[in-house]
Amino acid sequence: MNAVEMHGISKEFPGVKALDNVDFSINKGEIHALLGENGAGKSTLMKVLYGMHQPNMGTISIKGKDVRINSPIEAIKLGIGMVHQHFMLVPVLTIAENIVAGAEPKNGLFFDLHKAISEVDKLAKDVGFTIDPRKKVEELSVGERQRIEILKALYRGVEILILDEPTAVLTPLEVKELFTTLRQLKQKGMSIILITHKLHEIMEVSDKVTVLRDGKTIGTVLPKDTSANELANMMVGREVKMGVKCRSTNVGDKLFEVQNLCLKNGDRFCLKDINLYLRKGEILGIAGVEGNGQTELIEVLTGLRKPDKMCLKIGEHEISNNAGADEFIKSGIGHIPEDRGERGLVLDMSIKNNCILGYHRINRFIKKGIFLNNVIGKYARHLIKTFKIKAVNEEIHVGTLSGGNQQKVIIGRIFAQNPEVVIAAQPTRGVDVGAIEYIHHKMIEFRDEGKAILLISADLDEIKSLSDRIVILYKGCVVAQGVTDDFTDTDLGILMTGGKISNEER
């Protein structure tokens, strides 16, 4: 008897058949990966299981019993928990409050904070997390927040845990820790459904993989019987080249130069004496463990944060330290933000309106102060087509798109405006292998037109495969920079964690 059996599930949204007769099942004590392109229906399938969506057709049984799940509350009662692609915590509340919210321990009529704290503490120790339940969630890193989401599910006593792209936002180390936790939970008999776009993770941690394509089940396989390439084939339906190296052959003059960048937060330096430059026709990668100043660097270089000291030049043109984000955009600096839901998109606005975000005052879209609706609509449709965004039309809210397709809206919007320099932060976060290939191809094409890209990514493989040169950031300082192929993996590992290697000057 399987822990979960989903049979013949179909789900339609206005204009899209998100799921078409899908079968899915998972055993007790199993880690089961769900794989598929952006928009294949993975999140939707799991939302059906979690009671957030009602299927148009199909049956679900939990431990052999047929059920109808009308809401997440009912799902939790049935022992199903879900950690979403976008976290749903209340930042101003403490960890303990967040975890128990909805199932609070009571002291008579009142909320018992002490009991909550001690219960959360015990639970965390059981699964081997070290957290302080009194800390506020807003102070936590992404990886820590995720653990809170997991604890939240465990606190409710779930036996089936759904994780929607948990690793997309984690550092490699955090991913390792997460997997240790998952294996531990599996030992305790939990069933875990893991959605991820990273094939090597699937090979590493899962017992079974089910592949979805266009809302249909393609098949279920065992990782040991397959390979990453074969999985990619299954999900995209064609051969995918992963991690191709393609170095620039035509590097020109300096295009973008940052000198003596310092940024303080109180007395502490967030960024100290950063010097870096981009030449025409090259991609510069910023390597570093997350939290070593990357976010601050991006914010300063896109006009979102005023540095204490800096000299910034794009071509011959110097950008003042007081310039706002609008001036950076006008100067030809495109920005792909690291968090698409937070900075990149307005989720409850149409795709069309999101396509012009940041470029809504350029002449092309306006005549005599009035938006040219037709031009904008046509432009949006053009982006949807060129960047293969899976959407019914341009009028729907961007928030209804799958995660990866949301990312493509941002990528499309920036590259279509033909900037000089692109600050690309986590450009392929949450994007499927096929689309990664496409985005990487776009970036290289852009570079080969004589433009430049500053690439910030938590994915070291991405940095290594795309960057012509690398800058290593540690505690807000540049600790080394040089040609990518001169660094070995070991070198990078050492430098990124603050160690020194002998011949640093390259």
Binding site: F328, H360, I366, F371
Partner: protein, 358 residues
């Protein structure tokens, strides 16, 4: 507070039921619950609703009364809806209405000798600027000191009402007469009335025109776009190079200007002077008017008329059915509660749905 609005939208979306159906059912539910209220107090709900309807739409004078009552409500509903779109809760429409009305009364009564086609626009402009600046101050305090706009707008309501009250009782009181009111405005500053025997004035056309202008700004111009983006996601707005501080202040200015125009409409069309405490809460009711149509600026015209109808009907209810007018305000409150809480309506609907399944 802003997140509340977001949650509302999400619930609408999540339920998968279209907004209009929810809205319609909410109205019906409010009327049913209101009916229970009437019954419990020994009145016939049928008679009561009939009386409201007759009082609001039953005859030509009744309908004119409805439109007259609706006029200031449309303005303040629109004012609230504008602020919400920029992510702000402007609960200060009452104060802005007072300030606008006062400015209108002064410019209408103290500038002499210009023809109506100059005087009327001048008075309107003065009212809009006065109300706008009064509200822009709130926006300024918010971006500069991070003060919560709900608190500052409420405080400024008291200031506006009492400040104008002082001025009209002492320095600017009309020496001829007992009432605390300003000198009457010149004829050249009066808005024409449709019929000499009724109070309904061109102010209602001005309201419609204002709605058209706002709709144009919101849906056709970069400024409207920036207001929407700022209201929905401040961080994304900032990233897109939008000067959010400026947008917040401008949004509040527009919102306050509209409320101010509502005040001017009362002065120029009905009272012909500023009367101490002339508004029975037209500004405050804007919140309800706007909430009823999920803050859609264009639809405030219709919800304004609905609320105007309830107000007009209230008088008749009292006269024909001998039901105290207060009951009508209970109905009004119920409408807002039901409409503004789709979750409540959703769960009531779910109960029926579940029963149907079994």
């Amino acid at each position: 507070m802003k997140s509340n609005v977001k949650i509302l939208d999400k619930l609408y979306a999540a339920k998968g039921i279209s907004n209009t159906i929810v809205l319609f059912l909410s109205l019906i539910l409010a009327l049913i619950v209101g009916g229970v209220f009437f019954l419990a107090n020994g009145y016939s709900p049928i008679d009561a609703y009939a009386a409201i309807f007759i009082g609001a739409f039953g005859s030509f004078p009744a309908f004119i009364m409805t439109l007259t009552q609706a006029t200031p409500l449309i303005f303040s509903g629109l004012a609230f809806a504008v602020a919400i779109r920029g992510g702000m809760l402007n609960v200060g429409t009452e104060g802005q209405l007072f300030i606008g009305a006062f400015a209108a009364a002064i410019v209408g009564a103290y500038i002499k000798g210009c023809p109506a086609y100059i005087h009327i626009p001048l008075v309107l402009l003065a009212a809009a600027i006065a109300g706008g600046l009064w509200a822009a101050l709130v926006g300024f305090l918010k971006v500069r000191f991070g003060s919560n706009e709900v608190i500052t707008t409420i405080m400024l309501n008291f200031v506006a009402i009492n400040l104008t009250g002082y001025l009209v009782n002492y320095p600017l009181k009309n020496p001829e007469g007992m009432m605390a009111q300003t000198k009457p405005i010149f004829d050249s500053a009066k808005l024409p009335r449709f019929f000499s025997q009724y109070q309904l004035s061109a102010a209602i056309l001005l309201a419609a025109l204002t709605i058209a202008v706002i709709a144009f700004i919101f849906y056709k111009t970069p400024l409207g776009y920036e207001i929407e983006v700022t209201g929905k996601n401040k961080r994304a707005a900032e990233t897109a190079g939008i000067k959010i501080d400026r947008v917040v202040i401008i949004t509040m200015f527009i919102s306050g200007a509209i409320a101010g125009l509502g005040g001017a409409g009362q002065v120029m069309g009905i009272n012909h002077s500023f009367i101490d405490g002339f508004s029975p809460g037209y500004g405050f009711e804007g919140v309800a008017v706007s909430a009823l149509v999920a803050n859609n600026p264009v639809l405030t015209f219709f919800s304004g008329i609905l609320f105007g109808a309830i107000k007009a009907g209230a008088i008749t209810v009292n006269r024909i059915a001998h039901i105290p007018m207060d009951f009508v305000f209970v109905i009004q409150a119920l409408v807002v509660i039901f409409v503004a809480s789709p979750k409540l309506v959703g769960s009531i609907l779910n109960i029926f749905k579940k029963k149907g399944d079994k």
